[in-house]
Amino acid sequence: MGSGESPKVGVFVCHCGHNIAGTVNVEHVAELASEFPNVELSTHFMFMCSDSGQALIREKIEELGLNRVVVASCSPRMHEPTFRKVVEEAGLNRYCFEQVNLREHVSWCHMKEPEAATQKARDLVRMSVARASLLEPLEVKTVSVEPHALVVGGGVSGLRAALDIGDRGFRATLVERTGNLGGNLAKLSTLYPNNEPAKDVVDRMSLAAEASENVTILLNSEVTNFDGHIGNFEVTVKNNVTEEESEMKVGTVIVATGFDPFEPIGYYGYGDSPDIITLSALEEMKRDGTVLRPSTAQPPKNVAFISCVGSREEGVKGHEHCSRYCCTAMAKVAAELREEADEVLMLYDDIRTFGKGHEDVHRRARQEHVIFSKYNKKKKPAVKINDSGIMLKWNDVLSGENCEFRPDMLVLANAMVPPEGADEVAKIFSLTRSADGFFNEEHIKLAPLTTHTAGIMIAGAAQSAKSATDSTTQASGAAAKAVSLIARGEVEIESTVASVIDELCSACHTCVTACPYGATSIEATKGVEVARVTEAKCHGCGTCAAGCPSGAIVMRHSTDDQISSMIAALLSSAFVHGGGEK
């Protein structure tokens, strides 16, 4: 299809079962849309993304010679790739597709106003039809993939990923900022669910990584600079000890920077007595030999645990999440401590021993007569410290009684929080973060390992708090995504980049200063100075185009005209239909 051809737009409105049709009158929207300029066909269907919905689009493209397609359904963040593929299969260029979000932006957030929601849906469709009429086909480019993966973080997740990539026959470079491999796992004693010593796990994996000829390990190192795009990233790694910097090219990245154990300052007397410690500290003690009460260096006789310290605090930013490891870890050590201690008490809110083998750990603690008491979430346990030691008071909700206990050691099951430097990592790799501060996946259900930055994966505790098992599962999975890219050898990239209309450019340098990537420069062609865009460096943000005083920069797929057409379509209609009033 040439760009000169006049637009024939097909509009497909999706019911999404009840999801859209329950609020928006989709039939009516489809009917109205048939009157919009350039619309050749407007129809509605139960599930546009289903095989039959997709077939309908292809069929209509062929039957009516549609050359632009508008699907009014859910968020393009999920299904734009799906529908682009569909139009492509029918011979249209993928950039001749436009999606309207009638679900996340209309039906789901205006559930109680079906009429107003239907009007908004109509407006959004009109805007998209206007834009669609101006869409241009763009060339689809492929680039080669550098057969080399970068893995950031040398905990079990990073190790698992690097080992898998290496074993598959491709090169991986593992960058770990400390001097050791194993991350937080290396600080633990034995692991639930099977009591395997953590040291065995770490040794097994790090020895294999060190022995692998495909895996390069860079300790004491961090990524300081990162540039490029999927398939071809340029990475600068700095050794924090030698201060030396090295550069490398990689095709893909796995971020496995894990977590930090939360330092619970201000919680339950932490810091006020040496005998109040975190679960992480207790594990380190166990790893190094025996558990001794810090103040006396004697084995503790009465131990208490408190759950959810820094976790599950509604309304407290960064601490609303469940840390997912602590209930089971706590039940496990509690049972083990019973071998020596007279009494072990576990104060909990819910017991979340959800995973494979976790209930066995929980049951064992009960068999060992660990005392379980559910505390009152609204009136959390109180800790007093005086000369005679620690006094713990709480309300046991199950009996309703107020209880007291004098532990000689109090263990706080501390949360997992994003590691120090997560801000930097997010910036370097353009990752977004969820409310708990961990990195966001591309889709929470079906794409838990890829991110919104093409070519960059996340795995393990970097994505959210979790156990070693769940972490290494994600790591192998992320490695699969990386090796797919490398095995295929090439990957398609977006053609949505900036370009300069030489005749209009006044060589003012505005774009050169605006571009975050140094993709624009001023060059002399045929003796005249004009701006140039290096396409391989351009990420398509459009910051240059918005700044250009001469309107000399065309943002492909987001041109000034396309954007203006949406504004006009929305607002001109307000006069015609009185859309702004009702």
Partner: protein, 446 residues
């Protein structure tokens, strides 16, 4: 390709380039895609007429309430269209021999009686079929004919005739313009050489009638969670209208009973099913969302709320604050029906207050735990891999090698290894693909 040509090709696969995936749920689908994307061939064997597994039956998914069909459907198409994936639905693995790099797998192609290469999925045959039987896909709440697809997005979109109920009237044969129906079709067996195997057989729902005191099967207004999912699904038997079975009325008050067939040593389900708390909360929220004005009270009866995953605790909080779902801690002792109103009375001790409660609900939803599928033991013994005490496949080193069985070249993912939610099943599917691809790339050498 005709069926005969397809079977001939399959028997000639190159084992070092081909993996077998058993089970086409979301974990098996993901494993297949991640192997196929690397350029390997995948034979995906699914015993029912369609891939999709349990996720295809769900209405919404926690914790974002994304609609299950909306996010799954494109994945279904992706699998079906992938040039490196050979989809064998309505098929079963009947025998396995050999070792990593060179397994021989016997697959039974059950006679579907409809030619896959001819059927266009138009459904013209359906209305001519005189037989009506409960649709398994709708948990028996809706009906299907003897020639059927379980659900509209059935993948591949090919109809199936169930031999057990078909009376050979040949009405469908006459109706089908494409001459796609062959009632004389016979089961066929094919032996396929493969280099690596991924087991992704998923789970089976716990049969809640094992607790007679909870009234399932006896009282019409006691249903299980999967039935509820179908009931509120727009493509389900009631077109998404939330109603109760006794009289078709919208229930004004609904009780959800958690941990039915989970964390119960006496019923041989000592483990936590990992998804019920969250799907219970999800379904509770959905009742309010679908019928904000009619559904007045929604109560969840639980033992512990295990909102452990990303965004789960936040979702649990939202259920209480934004949707006003009530949570009562206590294992439900028994239920009884009020014979006049057909309402269900729940008897439970609120363990937080010590109060003994008798709550009447117009509908009660039992939230069952999940079990390993019955045939898993058979497959395990064919493969020579162990099952653990709960009946799922055993993994020796869960911390470092969470998807490796003890047999080289054999991997496991999703609920076949133990209960998991969708993202954890998907991640495990990718992981199993990674590990299987190493076996293939090394030609089976370990």
């Amino acid at each position: 390709m005709t069926e005969a040509e397809k079977l001939a090709t399959l028997s000639q696969m190159s084992p070092t380039q081909t993996a077998l995936v058993i089970g086409g749920g979301v974990s098996g689908m993901q494993a297949s895609l991640d192997l196929a994307d690397q350029g390997f061939n995948v034979v995906l064997v699914e015993k029912t007429p369609s891939i999709g597994g349990a996720m295809a039956m769900l209405d919404k998914t926690f914790p974002t309430l994304d609609c299950s069909a909306c996010i799954l459907t494109p994945k279904l198409s992706e699998v079906a269209r992938h040039p490196n994936i050979e989809l064998l639905t309505y098929s079963e693995v009947t025998g396995i021999s050999g070792q990593a790099g060179n397994f021989k797998v016997k697959v039974l192609r059950k006679a579907r009686k409809v030619l896959e290469d001819k059927c266009s999925g138009c459904g013209d045959c359906v209305e001519h079929c005189p037989i009506e039987i409960p649709n398994e896909f709708d948990q028996g709440l809706g009906f299907r004919r003897a020639v059927y697809v379980g659900f509209p997005q059935n993948t591949p979109l090919v109809y199936t005739i169930d031999d057990e109920n078909c009376i050979k009237c040949e009405m469908c044969v006459k109706a089908c313009e494409r001459e796609a129906i062959d009632l004389a079709m016979k089961d066929e067996e094919v032996e396929i050489p493969v280099g690596a195997i991924v087991v992704a057989t998923g789970f089976e729902l716990f049969d809640v009638s094992k607790y007679p005191r909870l009234g399932y099967g006896e009282y019409k207004n006691v249903i299980n969670a999967l039935e509820y999912e179908r009931l509120i699904n727009a493509a389900g038997p009631t077109a998404g209208h939330l109603l109760r079975m006794s009289d078709g009325k919208i229930p004004k008050s609904i009780g959800f009973v958690q941990c039915v067939g989970a964390r119960d040593v006496t019923n041989q389900v000592p483990y936590c099913a990992r998804v019920c708390c969250m799907y219970g909360i999800k379904n509770a929220v959905m009742a309010k969302e679908l019928q904000p004005d009619n559904v007045k009270n929604v109560t969840v009866y639980y033992a512990d709320i295990r909102a452990y995953g990303k965004g789960f605790e936040e979702f649990y909080n939202m259920a209480q604050t934004r949707f006003g779902i009530e949570f009562i801690r206590g294992r439900v002792g028994e239920v009884a029906e009020n014979p006049k109103t057909r309402n269900i009375e729940i008897r439970v001790e609120n363990t937080e207050t010590g109060e003994y409660l008798q709550h009447e609900h117009e509908l009660v939803v039992l939230c069952p735990g999940i079990l390993p599928p019955k045939e898993l033991r058979v497959i395990a013994s064919e493969l020579g891999v162990d099952v653990d005490s709960d009946g799922y496949l055993f993994v020796e080193h869960p911390a470092s090698n969470p998807v490796d069985t003890k047999v080289p070249g054999v991997f496991v993912c999703g609920c076949a290894e133990g209960p998991k939610d969708i993202p954890d099943s998907v991640a495990a599917g990718s992981a199993a693909a990674m590990r299987a691809s190493i076996t293939l790339a090394k030609g089976g050498e370990v």
